[in-house]
Symmetry: C2
């Protein structure tokens, strides 16, 4: 038996704190279990009354002689711990704690929640909540509505896990009118013990759940979320609303990478890397979920549209184009066949517009010709007023005509909410039903994206070696503790040891050394000041580019010294760095940042305008693979620039990937690295010309 | 009496082609007039039956002795012209032709439509349609549902004009359940005579229409649309769905500007320049429309949120941030007052979460404290299940508590469609009602944008002079007819005469001339080939930059000649152009394109990546004013670049505007210009350094 079966498929439920007063939430919850014909036994626990909502009530779970598989606790918060003790005595290991007043109310509540957590861990109890709304399994052989929301859940393949009880309640209340086949629902509240990750793991192997939907305000453990979702999305889709996108309370960042690592950028990275479909609204979430639940997966992106409503069909075409679908011409054969049966003024191009006066028989035949058309992969049927014939009769006939096809079929019934329950009765196995012309197009687009994700091949062609032990030596030799920037010489060596191409850089202490080095390297050169306290070199006037001669070099050294002097920083100067001056190529930026909750993230983006104005960068949790790295690069707005525009050659994208993988390895080997900027990292089509021109590493040494 | 009053406020209607058979569209239309209690007289015209749907029927309108103000024609298409003749005889000047089968069906139908048009113009009749769905005025003293859509229009300040009958029907059918106060509706079908522009003009001065909504697939006359909308939007908002965004059938463009002028870019330009709010879906359109209809205009962007549903409130906060609103902390006073009455576990920060157990009285008091809070400009109330008390009672109490405030109030009632009609009865003057937490935030954002548009001040500080007569001389001297590119020397002169700063350019015929000119101008210089047939100079190797010396110049001339020779183009070489070599500054692109339907459009954008990758350019119809030009520039994604990033100085933006105005003047003076590219036009913070480095003008001479 699976770990959470007792939550979702309990044979008996105790409601601890079951009120005998109608209107009270616990009374309503028992009412829902009864009304929805729960198949198991219900044990109300009430210390005062011996009957609750027609059922025999007990003083304590320990008074019940039969086994109890699940306890729903709804007592006032002061009585929660004793109730848990009772559960333990009764050997109940699955508890849903609906009672509120814990961590969400402040310090005192947080203390109580911690106490609770210790208690259940000692008792070997798994606990959902506190501050949650209950559980639903609408499968006919369970029929459990274990919530206090008045609503008649509609069975289907969708699982919904919500961090917000109120949002869950709002959804549960409208599943029928919105045709959402909500098979399983769980409200996880404060996530004190059971988190979304537990539910995800459970649903992964649960055959009743075909599509997983989530509402989250925070990730319990982003890294684990990613790991689990990557496994799940090989089998079934996960659709997520990640709310609370504000950046309030973000820590101040000292690096360029840190400044770009907004809470939402990090969340997006985790979601993209997980293969999870991110949506913005509840409507959108369930539109997509019901398509996955009830439509077949499209084989390609060519949509056929059959309608009686020209305007809505055009809106659907517009949305198809936005969602990566095409609406191609039909085969001549198809048009000819439809012409024979359709009203004389019907439009036979795709969208096929049958106009109001078409009978169910005409609709069905037209649908049949279209679904067999070799030019299309999916069929969207849009029916709206004015209606001369009965919608349900028409749509039932259409369904019968196309149900054997392997192509995707989606229905929009505009302005006919009253017909949705009728369709549910007439055709229990109906295609997904939408209320507007755009969602079927949008959902097909998401299905195609998911298909691509599922089918993506794992690349493993890039090999490289790193010298971990040499970098270890550098870290071992450091004497400073706490948070500090590495000296450039160490940065240089570390990158070299990991095969990350930092530009040739020689440090010198005086004019003579500078002149000799410049001679060796060859003009033009770059001159930079060195000094532990001179981190922001440009800001202090400590960088000179494109130095073409001896004289220029000497003047530049003079300039830097004067600039430092004017800022009272001359005493901090420890020497100079000489590098070849590098021109051309495409500027990129690589970075590492340590997110408070997710851990180390690698960043990549294009330099210049793309980062400055458009913040066009992508993050990924360290430890990603080669395929992820390509995805990351290809998802940039400026990806075309890497591929070369206006006749320029593409940069060596494989080498970009290789360097991302090396950075990922570096941070996995040395998590003391807190932040890293490689900026700019210049790329060219020739690998030997790809160079980092400046780099910084910040550590936090324990 | 206003021109279209007889359409929207008729005292008597004839239905020509009124069937006596139930189920027939004309029978249903008369049924709707009756059911909705139309206040005027109805005259069914039926050649066979003398009674239709309980009403006395006539053989012809000419048999009716009383005056008829409006005729709805629903006869088969072959009988339309005779019906029009009858109307003319009866002195009916307002006709709605519902019959289909005209232009939309192809060539033959188009012929018939043209005939029809000639006929009505001769008869001095204004005609709506053909191929349309009718008209509605739900104002209680008119009560006309002149459509065949079963639905009970809800009176309010929204006017809706739809090019699609089906979409109109879908909307009309759901006005009540979606709380859309649809005062007036008109389906304009094929727009043979009456177009959206006529309706817009009429609604401009109609006090019953407070908000105009439109569904369009094409603009009847884009320029006129813009002109009318600019006038209307000084008074009331216009919200538009512009469908059919595809670029199918776009003409091939030879200029850079032309290539960027997609159908949707042009449509967007017209819409932005009109002050019209563009939306993508019907839901969004009416969400915004009902906010304008029923909420007060927000004075600022600070929103307060009052709720019993934490999750939905967070989704609302996220949407506020996306829509340019803030959700600030409330005043201490407010929080203290709410604390005294709210349930102990309520959250007192904004959003204020009263949790399920709050009574109507608590809700009302909390709302009152919040609306008086000086930190907020608007109040969004979100109520969702689980509900311990009655929603309608709560929302009625909240409305009573805040109705006297000048601040904007918006209600979301989640998952409670059944309560919407109850609210309509309980509080006829209720605030706009939404079903989801995001729309009130989005609509407030749109209201603030509209406010800004309405209040924008007309700038008129830029003055310049042009020498139109000198350019006229150039055009007069041209001998070529048809489509051709101007020679660079003429382009140069034209721009000079309009004060548009083309870089100093001297044409020479041989090496000697080149050397002398370069000497005069000063090295480095740019060398370009000249030749009527050498338009794409770069492609033929005819451009050399940064020439630093005599020798380099001679070599460059040699190189160009060799390149032309290798392409068999040497005979086309007519000479060379010498220009100073210009480095630095911000590259922009200016252009003119002649759109088939809208006419001449001016384009502006930033060069390089911004145009190549992001297509970040804006178009405006020629003839715009200074304020428009600033709007155009400020609406670019890359606007920040013009203002200067990373410590760079802002470019002379006033000078960008001045040049846009000059181009606009140029094209108004000389509409024979078909396309123009100024690319690159380099800008700096110093006006004298702003220069066009290359320019092309294509003419179509009659």
């Amino acid at each position: 038996m699976k770990s959470f079966d007792k939550f979702f498929y309990p044979k008996s439920i105790a409601i601890i704190g079951a009120s005998s007063k109608p209107g009270n939430l616990s009374y309503e919850l028992i009412g829902n279990l009864l009304k929805f014909n729960y198949i198991g036994k219900i044990y109300p626990i009430n210390t005062k009354s011996d009957v609750v909502n027609t059922l025999k009530a007990y003083k304590s779970v320990t008074d019940v002689s039969d086994e109890i598989e699940l306890a729903l606790i709804m007592v006032p918060k002061a009585l929660v711990i004793p109730a848990i003790d009772d559960c333990h005595k009764k050997k109940i290991n699955s508890v849903i704690l609906i009672t509120a007043g814990f961590r969400e109310t402040g310090e005192e509540g947080e203390k109580l929640e911690n106490e609770l957590l210790t208690k259940i861990r000692n008792c070997n109890i798994r606990l959902v909540g506190p501050n949650c709304m209950g559980i639903i399994n609408s499968k006919p052989d369970v029929s459990m509505n274990g919530t206090f929301v008045l609503g008649n859940p509609l069975f289907g393949g969708i699982g919904f896990c919500s961090q917000s009880g109120a949002l869950g309640a709002a959804v549960v209340k409208t599943v029928q009118q919105n045709d959402i086949g909500l098979g399983q629902f769980i409200s996880i509240g404060n996530k004190a013990d059971v988190t979304e990750n537990d539910i995800l793991k459970y649903w992964k192997d649960n055959n009743d759940v075909k599509v997983i939907t989530l509402y989250l305000e925070s990730f319990a453990n982003p890294k684990e979320f990613m790991k689990i979702c990557r496994e799940i999305t090989k089998i079934k889709p996960v659709i997520l609303i990640k709310a609370a996108k504000t950046n309030a309370g973000m820590r101040a960042a000292s690096s360029h990478t840190g400044a770009l690592a907004s809470a939402d950028a990090i969340a997006n990275a985790i979601i993209e890397q997980s293969g999870v479909i991110r949506v913005n609204t509840v409507e959108e979430m369930f539109d997509i979920a019901k398509a996955f639940d009830k439509a077949k997966m499209p084989k390609g992106n060519r949509a056929g549209i059959l309608t009686n409503a020209g305007g809505p069909a055009i809106l659907c075409v517009d949305e198809c184009e936005k969602s990566g679908l095409t609406v191609p011409e039909l085969q001549e054969k198809t048009k000819n066949e439809i012409a024979k049966i359709a009203p004389p003024e019907a439009s036979l191009h795709n969208p096929v517009d049958l106009l109001p006066p078409a009978t169910a028989d005409v609709w069905a035949k037209a649908a049949e010709f279209m679904i067999e058309d070799e030019n299309i992969d999916s069929l969207i049927v849009i029916i709206g007023p004015p209606l001369t014939y009965d919608t349900v009769e028409i749509m039932t006939a259409v369904y019968e005509a196309v149900k054997h096809s392997e192509k995707s079929v989606l229905f929009t019934m505009m302005s006919q909410d009253e017909n949705i329950p009728k369709m549910q009765t007439s055709v229990p196995e109906h295609p997904p039903l939408f209320k507007f012309p755009e969602p079927p197009a949008r959902t097909l687009g998401e299905m195609l994206k998911f298909k691509k994700w599922k089918e993506r091949e794992s690349k493993e062609k890039i090999k490289f070696e790193v010298r971990k032990e040499k970098v270890q030596e550098i870290f071992d030799s450091l004497k400073t503790k706490g948070e500090f920037y590495l000296e450039f010489e160490d940065v240089y060596k570390i990158l070299k040891y990991y095969g990350i191409p930092i530009i040739e850089s020689v440090s010198v202490t005086d004019e003579k050394g500078a002149l000799n080095t410049a001679q060796d390297i060859g003009y033009p050169v770059v001159l930079k000041c060195i000094g532990k306290e001179l981190i922001h070199k440009t800001d202090v006037g400590g960088v000179k580019l494109d130095i073409k001669s001896k004289d220029e070099l000497l003047n530049s050294i003079k300039d830097i010294k004067e600039s430092l002097k004017s800022k009272n920083l001359l005493s901090k100067l420890e020497g100079f760095l000489i590098q070849p001056f590098y021109k051309g190529g495409l500027e990129t930026i690589f970075g590492i940042v340590n997110d408070n909750s997710a851990g180390h993230m690698i960043m990549f983006g294009l330099g210049g305008i793309m980062v400055e104005i458009l913040k066009d960068v992508k993050f990924r949790l360290a430890g990603f693979d080669e395929t992820d790295a390509y995805d990351m690069i290809e998802s940039l707005k400026g990806y075309e620039l890497l591929k070369g525009i206006r006749g320029q050659k593409a940069v060596d994208i494989d080498f970009v990937v290789e360097n991302l993988l090396k950075l990922s390895k570096l941070i996995e080997d040395f998590p003391v690295i807190e932040e890293l900027d490689l900026n700019p990292f210049v790329f060219s089509h020739q690998r030997e010309k790809c160079k980092i021109l400046d780099a910084r590493i910040k550590l936090i040494m324990p």
